[in-house]
């Protein structure tokens, strides 16, 4: 079953002045449980594609269907709600809330979903244990290493029980050891939970471990390879 389906995605920035074609008719289908890397040189359109898939940005042309919902039919408010319940985000710079502890950061998205406090606490604790941070739940981001912060970010992304997790350059700010550990963890979650991951990356070690690699060049899919 397709979790994400894009058809003829086109994105043109500055259409009225000097147009920049970020995407030129991208057709992409992501099935449930895939572990997909979107790769390509800088300016190839990786981040734009992820932004459109997540409903953070609108395509100039084309459609994005996520779990059967055409994102172009949703209002701003519905899009925010859609993201809250269907998509998990992992950002390059972690983007944790510095005044909250690890467990509070993870619980925050669930609280926004309106889930009971007890469930928020239990789920957050379990997720932090799952990402290997059982002993860090009451630490603030400033007390955690970059790798640990990104693990908290992954736990936060999973806390909303999303249909898939989008990660924009998740290892870009991490050293090789932390990158490897994060990737191991994401792969484990992918296998155990059948969680769908879509991430953009430049990191060859990450690309090497992806099960599907979509290569973008100049806003078009240049290669789409499945690996075993």
């Amino acid at each position: 079953m397709a979790v994400i389906e894009t058809t003829g995605l086109t994105k043109v920035y500055n259409a009225d002045q000097v147009p920049v074609h970020a995407l030129r008719g991208v057709d992409l289908t992501i099935e449930k449980g895939e572990f997909t890397a979107v790769v390509g040189p800088s300016g190839s359109g990786k981040t734009t594609l992820l932004n459109i898939i997540s409903g953070l940005d609108e395509p100039t042309e084309g459609r994005t269907i996520v779990q059967g919902t055409d994102l172009s039919t949703l209002s701003d408010r519905q899009l925010i709600d859609f993201r809250l319940h269907h998509i998990g985000f992992v950002f390059q710079a972690y983007n944790l809330i510095p005044v909250l502890t690890a467990i509070e950061n993870v619980a925050f998205v669930m609280q926004m979903q309106g889930r009971p406090q007890k469930e928020c606490n239990e789920t957050s604790r379990a997720l932090l244990e799952e990402v290997g941070l059982a002993d860090k739940i009451n630490k603030r981001p400033s007390e955690l290493s970059g790798g640990q912060q990104q693990r908290v970010a992954v736990a936060r992304a999973l806390s909303s029980k999303p249909d898939f997790v989008l990660a924009d350059e998740p290892t870009a700010n991490l050293d090789s050891v932390s990158s490897g550990e994060l990737l191991d963890m994401m792969l484990e979650l992918n296998e155990k939970e059948d969680m769908t991951f879509v991430f953009s990356t430049h990191d060859q070690r990450v690309i090497d471990r992806a099960r599907r690699v979509v290569t973008l060049v100049d806003g078009k899919i240049d290669k789409d390879e499945l690996r075993e």
Partner: protein, 406 residues
């Protein structure tokens, strides 16, 4: 969830403790300074009014309808004893003072000066007694034809206790009359012009020279609440249609203007301070919003809707304001209560103050309702301060906000 958002707002306030502390202290000091200054001005104005009520104008004054036009002695209050007795029965009247009044010339061997002469009862509890600097009231002196004069007049006429002086004026028939008096006392009130232009002698002495018997020209009523003067004056006017009954506000419109302006002045001071605080808070909150662009973008991206983001920023602003404001109000209440009792001694500026009729000790005071109004004003200011930063936070495009700092 809104509770969580507000909790997050509270934690965000302490993200940069030094900056928040500076704003909180600014709000605290601004609130304290604004309220205390208002209390100071109110106390100063009230003191001025009280001084004027004590010496120059009663809350309600009763005179012959033509007396005020010419200050002519012939326009006395007929049957004044009966009127005074009836007035003393009224529950809202706290004190009654009576006097015969005329204008004339005070002369010494060295100089002369135009004065208003007040003839007061020997046993009168006249407020001028509070200001006697040397000597006694005319009624308590064993001298013949005693007179009480102001310090300034004594200096002008170059006389002192025991000196002789002559008072000349018209009697009730328009004939020039006068008498030799001996200075029994010297007073020094809050007002130099008053001290220079008023003398007090015994009522019997005065009436004898004026050709009157036991009549008076002026009955002054002190009320329990001077702000009710208009209402009571109307009632009295109906009861005494042949007399002129005026309130302090009619007799001295400048006092009424001052009374009316005091409230306005207090609010103007507070509004100026609050405007300054609003800009300080907006500045701080804008910094807080702009330095958290990426974080706010992330929150919007993961599903925090606009009302929640707005609420979070508004709550942060309210916390910043509402931590400092109550402490500032408490501090101002304590200082106003303390100085309201012991007073603030401004005798170093007594020359300037007394020239304008102000006392040298100011007793700050502020009605309780004013604290409530200040609370509402600060709450409104906090909300106003919150709007722009909160609106600014909503203008952030999540995509750009996240990308900008990646």
């Amino acid at each position: 969830m809104f509770l969580k958002v507000i909790q997050l707002g509270w934690k965000n306030v302490w993200r940069n403790p030094m900056r928040s502390a500076v704003v909180i202290i600014a709000v605290l000091l601004g609130t304290w300074a604004g309220i205390f200054l208002s209390g100071f001005f109110a106390g100063m104005a009230q003191g001025y009014l009280n001084n004027q009520f004590k010496l120059t104008v009663g809350h309600i004054e009763i005179v012959h309808p033509q007396f005020k036009d010419l200050y002519s002695p012939e326009y006395y209050i007929p049957n004044s004893d009966d009127v005074i007795r009836e007035l003393s029965q009224l529950s809202y009247v706290q004190n009654i003072s009576t006097e015969s009044v005329t204008t004339g010339l005070a002369q010494s061997a060295h100089s002369n000066y135009g004065v208003t002469m007040h003839g007061i009862h020997a046993d009168s509890n006249n407020a001028i007694a509070d200001y006697i600097k040397e000597g006694t009231m005319p009624g308590q002196s064993d001298k013949r034809n005693p007179v009480l004069i102001g310090q300034k007049l004594a200096e002008r006429l170059d006389i002192e206790i025991g000196s002789r002086m002559v008072l000349s004026f018209q009697d009730k028939n328009g004939e020039i009359t006068g008498g030799a008096f001996r200075v029994a006392g010297i007073f020094d009130s809050f007002s130099d012009p008053y001290d220079e232009g008023n003398v007090f002698i015994g009522l019997e002495n005065m009436n004898e020279l004026l050709g009157l018997t036991n009549q008076v020209h002026n009955i002054q009523l002190e009320l329990a609440d001077f702000s009710q003067a208009s209402q009571y004056a109307s009632q009295l006017q109906n009861e005494y249609p042949n007399l002129q009954i005026q309130t302090w506000g009619k007799i001295a419109p400048e006092l009424q203007y001052m009374y009316d302006m005091t409230d306005l002045m207090m609010y103007i001071v507070m509004v100026i301070i609050i405007i300054a605080l609003i800009f300080s808070i907006i500045n701080t909150m804008l910094m807080a919003v702009l330095e958290r662009t990426r974080e706010l973008g992330m929150l919007r991206a993961v599903g925090m809707n606009k009302p929640r983001v707005f609420s979070m920023i508004v709550s942060e602003t309210l916390f910043l304001t509402m931590v400092g404001a109550p402490v500032g109000m408490l501090l101002s209440w304590i200082t106003i209560s303390y100085f309201g009792n012991v007073g603030i001694d401004l005798s170093a500026f007594s020359a300037g103050l007394s020239a304008y009729g102000f006392g040298t000790v100011i007793y700050p005071s502020l009605p309780n309702i004013y604290y409530l109004n200040i609370t509402l004003m600060i709450a409104a200011a906090a909300l106003l301060s919150a709007l722009y930063p909160a609106w600014k936070s909503l203008q952030l495009n999540p995509v750009e906000a996240i990308r900008k700092f990646n």
